[in-house]
Amino acid sequence: MFDILIEENTARFSGRLDASQVEKAREVLDGVNRSVEFDFADLDYISSAGIGVIVITFKRLSDAGNSLKLKNLNPNIRNVFRYAGLDKVIVIE
């Protein structure tokens, strides 16, 4: 079960962000229009489809002068961002 809960300047992700959940993620993240942190403490898994929606959000926020920071990535998710070369692009705590 995948979910995103928005609390002030933090979006808390949980579950599996795979290709079947991308539209749900996009609907929620399209409403984010300020600098924000994505808390992945309860996110178990992400695939390239999930990475795609994070990148689209990152680009949109950056173009508007806002920032995005990722935190509490488990080692597997951290590896996926590293393989994608995004650890040098997006701030990861």
């Binding site: 079947s20 898994y45 695939s47 489809a49 990152f58 996926v80």
Partner: protein, 137 residues
């Protein structure tokens, strides 16, 4: 373990359960289990989105073979689409110059030891070998 799944992105939930059963049966580490999950999802979604002509279910087989995890995914009655012909993406490019697509196969290549593709009698078969890690007993 072998199972057929409908050629729909919505099948990913059932596929995740299937992969979990396989990972638990071999006591794979979280890292190895994650690799199997990701490779299966990327290849399955590629077949659903790009294989022309397919109407049948997609077959997924996972097994331990000769010290490796052997993952095989078969799509029947489709045109040839050799994933080894897909060019590598350059993940060092600046974000503004990156084009969409190709990241899934890039991740599969990062996490695999070997990827083979064959197309015979209309059947597209991808076979992937993964070097596994097991939980300490």
């Amino acid at each position: 373990m072998h199972r057929a799944f409908p050629r729909s992105i919505d099948a990913l939930t059932d596929i995740a359960v299937f992969v979990n059963e396989f990972s638990e049966s071999l006591a794979l580490t979280s890292n190895s289990s994650n690799a199997v999950h990701l490779i299966v999802e990327e290849l399955f979604t590629n077949m659903v989105r790009h294989n022309i002509g397919g109407t049948d279910c997609i077959q997924l087989q996972l097994e331990r073979a000769q010290g490796r995890i052997k993952l095989q995914i078969i799509d029947r009655d489709v045109e040839k689409f050799d994933i080894n012909d897909v060019p590598e993406v350059d993940v060092s490019m600046p974000m503004s110059e990156r084009r969409g697509g190709g990241l899934g196969l890039h991740l599969v290549r990062c996490m695999s030891e070997k990827i083979d593709y064959s197309h015979a009698n209309g059947n597209s078969t991808i076979t992937v070998l993964i070097k596994p890690e097991f939980q300490e007993s």
